[in-house]
Symmetry: D2
């Protein structure tokens, strides 16, 4: 299927709740974090003595049934849903990683990307640790298992001293759950209460809502929280550089109903649409989104511009992994396997087409043609993010330099390439303004090439491959 | 997962196209008809000599991979995707049904429900035909295989004389494809061209668009079309009683981008929303849909009322079959496994909540509570269909009398039961008006109890069970 | 894997036992009849009201687990394990066949081959019955479902009037189990008691022993036994032509511990070896079998000849279905994938090599070479059956005329072809003598071309294909 | 299913053969080593740059199909088939283990048991290596990955200095295959040539024969062989203590056609039977084995005693893993699910019953009763191994002290317990004599409690659990 979106890396979840069926709650938590990774899923549970694990390739609902859940008894657990950045989507890369260590069993779930993974990996190999996968999450696990420190608290702090880049971790030991967020706060992580005595952490607050937990607060950048018998305890707040939240969580990744900095991402995206309307108005009859992700921005654009919101494209809701290849005829049909136009709404209309982002630019052109074939007389494309001119090295699978259309072409060239009557992107300022927290720090690496973290190591590795 | 919707019965597809990989096109056709049935899928292909079949329980994309597609070589094919009305979702009920007959091999796919199936079934048993399933589609298959007539043309006409009720059929013989629609035209069926020489029939036009086929026209009520070497030929137009299209295809079933009577169902549903706004205005701040099916009606309501359209509920997009049961805690959480509210949009707002239908009424109450908990100060529910007071006996799994909330309660009682500030349904007249074809005949059985077909036989059977 | 043996067709099993878990006993019965068919297995159970079925491709132990057994509740059941003669090993040919009929539900399991299946099939098609498979067992099922007769007793008698050829049937209705054996008694079928009140029928007595049932007697040729609430009852003994038991059940098919006519087949095969030693002595140092099937005959040959019995070939015990194809190197290695020689025992020895039969002759040559390579100085092959010069049309997959080595070559030619120092087959007289029932009638079709049943119909069909 | 045998631990295989499809040959090699382990199977292949792996739970033929074999391209490979001693039969214990190390990729397959695994494991944990499984084979892998030494040669020598106990290893690096056998030579390992330029190593010579390779010699105790571009090279012969081959390989484990010390195990077992006859004659009519493993010993006993060899028990050949539990009735039937008696041969006979070993003694009693029920008038049991009075700590899953019948009871008590007329075991001297190499050293731990290796570490661990 044709696709032109950045790819999530992972969703993490953790729970400490003596009165609950923690594996079952983890399952439903992961279920609501499914959009953060569809390649593998896993749950590790501790009963205070040992850690049991089940993980497999596939969607959460495919990986678990009552049989695989049954052995996962205990009172604390972590879960993970993974999208692989590297293309090597194999079971041995699935998470959580579980190892036995000198301090007892250890399970780790990771969302993000270490920029110095290559160095750390080399260090482990030199220290004589054999590694079974290409995943930087195994590197983290072995660093924790074998790193300096007499306690988990110490080991986690040592880890944070050594690690560079993006990481939200849930760490399970025999009797405690840890939540760790990198000092930049690149990706979201929050904590809530479940029932009388239980605590839960998750990549996004939607996972809390889904299992009926109460959102408490975000885990602070650089914070390590330990949750044990006595409830949560802040182990450390590591010295934090400037805050740098991933702007793409605002634009596309996180679920619209998740909360970041006190507002839903839906509201943030509606605001992006409003900004976009202000910055780049269009003379048109209807505003339509590329469903589903661009719906809030389109609603915002419509509200601010006064042009009526409408639907112009229907997305096959069962789009998912199919093993059947399109043949030549179907490749020509192309985008229609995913979207069909609503001719009634388009016929004779001047259309503002809203999408949240353009990465390679391979689907926008066919969508525009689809709209024209269905009768649209003008198509004005408006994108609720700035042009993506640089890859992400911090946990998001964006694309490489030569693939990025905005790296290769100027805006007029892209306009031409897509066959639109006009094209405009949201400005970086406008985007930041729309977050409602213009003063908070944001990562803007993929837009400006200025990353909050030193990336020369990953870059090097990338160029070598 | 909680659900309160009528259930589709089936999607049918057929293709005659010597220059195409017909099984592959059928796969993608079924893929876009997935919403009409998620329990089993199957494809039967003829190469002019024999018919090969593959069918299994599961979604289209799970049932087929390149291995199962490979043996399906030929130039004509039919496909089927099934939702079981009877609860007996077993492989032996999966379609297409394929049998060897005196006239050679025969495959049948069926969408609908025969009201005299019980009688016809008994007749077959008495004639000495052993039946392997409880499906009325096997009854149809055996009636065709063994019914009177020296040719398929004759057999199909005899069948139509005998059958009562709803049926859209695709029938595959060694060298021809037949499309058959019941005389009332209860469910949709259309025909289109693919490539230079190919023809395709499908339950909905979205399947044509998906494979790049050109919509030609609807199959007429009572029409039998044969497609062979020389293209399509109308075998017969059986004497048709009054036309009676299923209104629920307009309200909920068919995909919004499918065409019926020359307009998309999206347009029809927007019109329903407009009618509803006219009939039952509300004093409110925002209009929100129960996603996804009520989106067009909500857009229509917003347009006609001038109240801004917004989103207030996010639906987990990966909701699908899970094998994990909620426990008590999760059952209490309930509706949140499926929907989460957008507090930002709801806080302090008077909300018009649009849904397309209420069947049992078990999900609307929890949704209303969710909105209130998220800060909505008033909830005015508007439903884009009339109250459902009767079951459907024509191929739609609605619910039985005692389950139907509008059969058990008056509108004020339902209002109370759901905890809404006000509740209004679209009138039957309004609904018919919104179709844009008020003069065409419609089935209104589930609303009025007056069915176009004699249903005393099914009723009897139903009461006996 | 290289193979040169006739192929079993099927094993049937039936049980009526109100105090037992009949599906579980059927499972273990089938488990011990696994040698009669390895392609699919199935169990149908009645609880007095309805029949539930589970069948799948694969070995008995693969087809059933506790989950698939659980729904199979009841007090009477039949089971089937199938080897397909036709090569079309598809699920739709798996047995038992279950249909609904005018007299209620019906399940049928069949071992054998009808010689007039083609005619009967045509008759059914003409009567208007659509057939879903190529199996003559479906023909039988539909003949019973729709044939003349007001009761099952009558229908079974009518069936026996119409059917020609080999058939052992277990038939399950709502409340009775029937066992039917063709008038020639071609294949074995026996009955026994289980527990206080239960009854069981099976292709071979080994299935009775396995579940702790007491062997009672063989079902007589032409007999129909009904087992219901009041225990077994002989419904009819159809007029029987000359008895004609399949000699190949004596030679190879049935398990050595099964009883036929009061003796084990092991004893019969030891006697065949003794006869063979008498008829065709050899001047040699050791007698070795081609394991496992020729072991008893080799023991008999050793006893009668006084030449020591030994083992000279080890057979990989895990030989079974593999999906991996040998490449060229392995094809050259060939027979060693299945057998390895015991050089210690062969070095410098003159060997009598015993096998039970030679069909195509493709494995005996490589075995002989293997023995010579391992040091055997002479190889005298002795076969405990006569030369197979004709195909079987009565339920055994032998091979077609041009494939049968003894049809194409004289004994000296075969001797030459196999590279043996001498070759002798057991005479037909010797074989019959070894059964210990020389006066009973035997089918000898594959040896003499004289079949007990008119086979011109099958022959015709065979030549046409 | 009832069972009373020691359990194999593992089979290892390795190949270096630029001209061959090494994964395919490894598959067939493992296929013939299936008897050494039925719980999981795996193949790792190197193409000179990277190592690819496929391993799964199940039999070799279930784990591999052409799809899983396809990615395993290369010119050197190792394979493994595993029986788990620990009961923890999980995928994470399946072999080969593959890790990335400072010297590049590494794959290890292991047969045996390290007696100081607990210490070595602790050392690794202390060194900061997280371990993912409970398997001592992972310990070996991490020791090699991270142990001292600048080359693989050195690392392997260091490993051998540190390791105590039984280990046959095949080790795969990017460009070399290593074969390693512990200094005592506890379990077998041999090397052969395949084709012009290829080399192969395997646990047993039967694997060489199966793929048409030429047996060259056994790997010497304490030897490390490296196979690379230039063929095999002896890296080291580690200082060897007294030789101590596992006597149970002679008695039961290894396939009868495998060669040890220049003779087949079949010959060794026939010799055991002869010794047994000499030591413990019996006045009887027939000698019968408990099939299949005791057949050679029974043949030997018959030859030496002059009492005719016969078969008295038939073993269901399809005995394998079933998921169906016997119920009470079937538990009573018990041993008959596995063996059926041949009454013809037993009726009125005085029987010598030969088995190779008695571990817990739970199946011999039921077998004796079976023989008596079938008419045997006397049963004289003769066992071709000495009484097992101690567990094995060297890679064989024997049973724990309290389970071992010969640990708990005297011979007369066992006689009584089994209900035999007489019982005799082969003497240790007789057993050693039968090997034909009385002067070679043998491990006799399970018979005498004197193990060649210090076992106090394992014992301690065992008692603690
Ligand atoms: N209800 C929802 N459930 C899950 N994901 C959602 C939902 N709403 C929005 N999203 C976000 O939208 C993304 C999917 O957007 P969509 O436009 O449908 O597909 P694409 O990834 O092709 O852009 C998801 O990755 C997710 O982050
Ligand atoms: N893009 C689409 N793809 C598939 N089905 C759609 C689509 N849009 C609307 N539908 C219709 O909406 C129905 C699903 O509606 P939704 O409200 O999401 O779930 P529910 O069945 O619980 O009401 C489908 O059955 C289908 O007929
Ligand atoms: N113990 C047994 N279990 C199952 N089948 C057996 C047994 N002993 C003999 N047989 C018979 O022997 C046949 C298998 O013989 P064998 O020589 O091993 O293989 P092949 O079919 O290649 O000749 C089976 O089909 C079966 O009828
Ligand atoms: N042909 C063979 N193929 C595989 N294993 C064999 C063979 N012959 C003997 N064996 C050995 O015999 C053992 C099986 O013996 P058997 O007596 O049938 O079962 P049990 O393990 O119950 O004693 C195998 O583990 C194997 O070592
Ligand atoms: S580079 Fe872009 S996608 Fe990556 S973390 Fe920064 S803002 Fe997010
Ligand atoms: S009764 Fe209702 S659901 Fe059924 S066909 Fe008529 S309108 Fe459609
Ligand atoms: S022809 Fe041969 S195999 Fe067939 S039934 Fe007769 S004896 Fe048996
Ligand atoms: S203790 Fe026994 S089984 Fe173990 S290695 Fe020694 S001889 Fe073999
Ligand atoms: Mg999108
Ligand atoms: Mg809906
Ligand atoms: Mg054989
Ligand atoms: Mg044994």
């Amino acid at each position: 299927m044709m696709d032109d979106k950045p790819q999530h890396e992972c969703g993490v979840f953790g729970i400490y709740a003596p009165d609950e069926d923690v594996a079952r709650l983890t399952f439903f938590g992961l279920y609501s974090l499914q959009h953060r990774g569809q390649e593998s899923a896993g749950i590790a549970v501790s009963n205070g003595r040992r850690i049991n694990l089940h993980k497999e390739m596939g969607l959460v609902a495919q990986v678990f049934d009552e049989n695989s859940l049954r052995p996962l008894q205990g009172h604390l657990a972590i879960g993970h849903t993974r999208y692989s950045t590297t293309g090597s989507s194999k079971l041995q890369n699935a998470q959580p990683f579980v190892v036995e260590s000198a301090l007892g069993p250890l399970a780790v779930g990771h969302n993000g990307n270490l920029t110095n993974a290559h160095d750390l990996r080399q260090e482990l190999l030199n220290r004589g640790v054999g590694l079974t996968s290409s995943s930087d999450s195994e590197v983290i696990t072995q660093m924790l298992a074998g790193g300096e420190g007499r306690t988990w608290d110490e080991k986690l702090r040592v880890f944070m001293v050594r690690a560079q880049g993006a990481y939200c971790l849930t760490v399970l030991t025999k009797d405690a759950l840890f939540a760790v967020r990198d000092p930049w706060g690149l990706h979201p992580l929050c904590i809530g209460r479940v029932g009388e005595t239980g605590w839960v952490v998750a990549s996004e607050s939607c996972a809390l809502a889904t299992i009926g937990a109460q959102f408490e607060r975000e885990v602070a950048p650089g914070e390590i929280i330990a949750i044990g018998e006595d409830g949560p305890r802040t182990v450390a707040r590591m010295p934090a550089p400037d805050r740098a939240m991933c702007l793409f969580e605002y634009i596309y990744f996180a679920r619209p109903d998740s909360l970041v900095e006190g507002q839903t991402l839906h509201a943030a995206r509606v605001a992006q649409g409003r900004e976009l309307a202000r910055e780049s108005p269009a003379d048109a009859d209807i505003v339509i989104p590329v469903p589903d992700s661009a719906v809030p921005a389109a609603i915002g654009y419509a509200q601010a511009s006064g042009i009526p919101y409408s639907e112009g494209l229907i997305k096959n809701r069962y789009i998912g992994r199919t093993f059947i290849q399109p043949d030549d005829r179907l490749r020509k049909v192309g985008i229609q396997l995913k979207f069909n136009p609503l001719a009634d709404n388009l016929e004779g209309k001047r259309v503002v087409l809203i999408d949240d982002s353009i990465v390679r630019g391979n689907t926008s052109g066919p969508i525009v043609r689809l709209l024209r074939d269905a009768g649209a007389v003008e198509v004005h494309m408006r994108v609720s993010s700035p042009p993506i001119r640089h890859p992400c090295f911090l946990g998001v699978d964006m694309a490489s330099y030569p693939e990025l259309i905005a790296h290769r072409m100027s805006i007029p060239e892209i306009e031409d390439f897509l066959g639109v009557d006009s094209l405009a992107y949201l400005s970086l300022d406008g985007l930041v303004r729309a977050t409602g927290h213009a003063d908070a720090g944001f990562c803007q690496g993929c837009f400006t090439g200025r990353y909050p973290v030193d990336i020369h190591l990953v870059e090097k590795e990338t160029f070598e491959n």
